[in-house]
């Protein structure tokens, strides 16, 4: 038997082994089998080729990548290039949504929103996959809280479930260690992908997310994550191929469910790189079960933070709070945005330091959440820029740093650049909420403004048409036409403000006020102009209580003004 033949048999055996551990698994056994095969193979190769192979770093299943690394680098570059303008498109659609839209326009914008969101997901997946495949992605080793991470993943996935007939259940082994050392963002990516898939393919029924401690020896733990659903399932002959890139179980999967077909190959790639194992069991119509076993190290005791009482209701001060988030990780961006929205905050998320600083110039924010490690401008640098700003409200905005690991020098650095407080990632939601609440209510106390009832000078008239009549050069028809336009303007204004109030859109109110200001001045409608002044002021600080109040005043006052206009017009 020559060496070539031997190698062929060897690779056949390896393939067989892959298939074996795919279909049936007892992870520990499979792992041991893999390891012993690996060493057997290496030993054999050593004997045959007479030189030692480099030590096996990972227990790799058959590589999913078939493309050369350069090509993946290219894909990564291109996806990144596409993502930048697409980010712009998504941003502009958001702005468009804030403007006054007719029902048809609303529908079109929503369609645009969905389509660009889908495109963004596909590109992000592509980027992620090529980064992994080309080996450019680095894996972190930081302490993180496993329970928090799983809670976050569950929270995020629940926002994906639009149908009430689908239920997501989370079971956590009570023996799970609290703090682990590893890469939390990669773990959440695995879980999000698997649970996200389940959400996509389940029309009715349950999705289970389970985490079990499989073994715990000498500080090293193996944790098994199980994602089981009652969805459409995958046929047996298709099972082996679902981890290949661009491969979906059925040809029409793309049509029915969308997706790039990269999700599972990403998961597989990450699991491989983390020295873990993944297996799937499925039956058509009965659902699928994915099992992932990953090794982690246990973190030292001192890192463990004590659990605190959860806050049940969202405190008032967080409602409508404008929060600027600097974060470059797409998953974290999404997570933070959903989280803040669920608290009633208005989040603005960006990964671009300069753009964020520009946002701060143009909008008044209540708080900044800052990821410290970002490409281009770091969180420290951005905070320094904020603290050096000339305007008081920008310079004094509270900044909470979010970071995966905080060294002692970082702590000093935080103090030096003026970071108000910090929280470790993956963060405990309650802790973050409490911290934000404290900081926001503190700064609110400082500049709390009285909402005052406006009293009008009853002696002066509430409207005067003379000025406008003059401008019409005495043409009464033109004046009547203009007055008609004015009234229509006011009705539109009232409708718009009501809509903006329902949508918590203070900017929209500011804009609407601006639009009618000059008309009010031309008719010398002083009382209405005064109310509008207050509305504009309140809209700048997004003081919704005040906005509601002044809006009601406007509603009370306007009929009187209209009556006065009609009387004056008849007198002319």
């Amino acid at each position: 038997m020559d060496t070539r033949e031997l190698l062929m048999h060897l690779s056949k055996l390896e393939n067989g082994l892959d298939t074996y551990s795919f279909t049936e698994l007892n992870t520990k056994e499979a792992n041991r089998l893999k390891k012993s095969f690996e060493s057997f193979k290496n030993g054999l190769e050593e004997k045959v080729f007479g030189m030692p192979k480099p030590e096996p770093v990972e227990v790799s299943l058959k590589k999913t990548t078939t493309k050369p690394p350069e090509e993946h680098t290219m894909i990564a570059k291109v996806s990144h290039e596409i993502r930048t303008p697409l980010n712009g498109i998504v941003g502009f659609i958001d702005l468009l949504k804030e403007t006054t839209l007719g029902p048809k326009q609303q529908e079109l914008v929503n369609a645009l929103d969905t389509a660009s969101g889908n495109l963004m997901n596909i590109i992000n997946e592509l980027l992620e996959f090529s980064k992994l495949a080309s080996g450019h992605d680095t894996f972190e080793k930081v302490p993180f809280n496993l329970k928090n991470l799983i809670t976050e993943v569950a929270f995020l996935c629940e926002t994906l479930i639009t149908d009430s007939k689908v239920e997501l259940c989370v079971h956590l082994d009570k023996n799970l260690p609290e703090q682990l050392l590893g890469d939390p963002s990669k773990l959440s990516q695995i879980l999000l992908n698997l649970v996200g898939n389940a959400v996509k393919f389940v029309e009715k029924g349950k999705i289970n997310l389970e985490a079990i401690l499989k073994s715990d020896q000498q500080g090293k733990v193996y944790i098994e994550f199980i994602v089981a659903d009652t969805g459409i399932g995958i046929a047996n002959n298709k099972l082996q191929r679902i981890f290949e890139s661009y491969r979906q179980a059925e040809d029409d999967t793309q049509l029915k469910y969308g997706g790039s077909g990269l999700g599972l190959s990403i998961v597989k790639e990450i699991v491989d790189r983390m020295d873990g194992l993944i297996a799937v069991k499925s039956a058509l119509g009965a659902g699928s079960t994915f099992k992932v076993t990953l090794p982690f190290e246990k973190a030292r005791q001192q890192d463990i933070t004590s659990p605190r009482r959860p806050i049940k209701s969202v405190p008032r001060s967080l409602k409508h709070a404008k929060i600027l988030v600097f974060e470059d990780n797409v998953l974290n961006q999404q997570l933070m945005e959903n989280r803040l929205k669920s608290w009633g905050c208005q989040p603005f998320v960006t990964e671009n330091g300069l753009y964020g600083l520009q946002l701060l110039e143009n909008h008044e924010f209540d708080l900044v959440l800052m990821d410290l490690r970002m490409p281009k401008m770091s969180g420290f640098q951005i905070t320094e820029c904020i603290r050096q700003n000339k305007q008081d409200h920008i310079r004094n905005v509270p900044v909470i740093a979010l970071t995966a690991d905080l060294s002692i020098t970082d702590r000093e650095h935080c103090k030096k650049v003026g970071i108000t407080n910090y929280i470790l990632k993956p963060y405990n939601a309650d802790e973050l909420q409490r911290m934000m609440q404290e900081l926001i209510s503190e700064s609110e106390k400082e500049n709390k403004r009285e909402i005052s009832q406006i009293t009008f000078d009853q002696t002066s008239s509430i409207v005067n048409l003379n000025l406008l009549y003059e401008e019409c050069m005495g043409e009464k028809d033109t004046l009547a036409e203009l007055v008609q336009l004015f009234k229509r303007n006011m009705y539109e204004f009232i409708g718009n403000v009501r809509m903006h109030l329902t949508n918590n859109d203070s900017r929209g109110i500011g804009f609407a006020v601006h639009k009618i200001k000059s008309s009010l001045k031309m008719l010398e409608a002083k009382s209405l102009a005064q109310i509008c002044g207050k509305l504009a002021e309140a809209s700048e600080s997004a003081a919704y209580e005040a906005l509601e109040k002044y809006y009601k005043q406007f509603l009370n006052e306007y009929p009187k003004v209209e009556e006065a206009i009609d009387i004056e017009l008849n007198k002319l």
């Binding site: 036409e481 203009l482 336009l485 200001k517 008309s519 031309m522």
Partner: protein, 126 residues
């Protein structure tokens, strides 16, 4: 003689109608534009004799409009901006970008007429 063409971008319909009424009385042909974007699309294919525009408009602000006109289209036609005053920075920006004139709201139509006439005459001399 063909009447001079003006583009008027102002999203307050009452003010817009009043200004249009007065400008037409003066002998101009006035096209009303609902927002900056409409003006941008319009001037991309055909330049009027002058533009009068509100600064704060949806989609495309008056300032952006000046920038587009001067730096993209490289046109020197008169452009007069109107805005609720108070924002000095806006005014300075507008002039820096190359706006010919700036009027604070509420705009007096008579004053606007004089300024429009003046800018168009000046432009013709150049």
């Amino acid at each position: 003689m063909k009447p001079k063409e003006l583009l008027l971008a102002e999203d307050d319909p009452m003010l817009a109608s009043l200004l249009k009424f007065r400008l037409e009385k003066e002998g101009y042909a006035v096209a009303l534009m609902p927002d900056g974007k409409a003006v941008k699309e319009c001037i991309a294919t055909h330049l009027p004799d002058a533009i009068i525009s509100d600064v704060m408009m949806p989609y495309f602000s008056g300032i952006e409009l000046v920038d587009y006109l001067r730096n993209e289209l490289k046109s020197k036609i008169p452009i007069i901006l109107i805005s609720t005053a108070s924002n000095e920075e806006n005014v300075i920006n507008a002039f820096k970008m190359g706006a010919n004139d700036f009027l604070a709201k509420p705009v007096s139509p008579s004053e606007l007429l004089i300024r429009v006439n003046r800018e168009i005459e000046r432009h013709q001399i150049i």
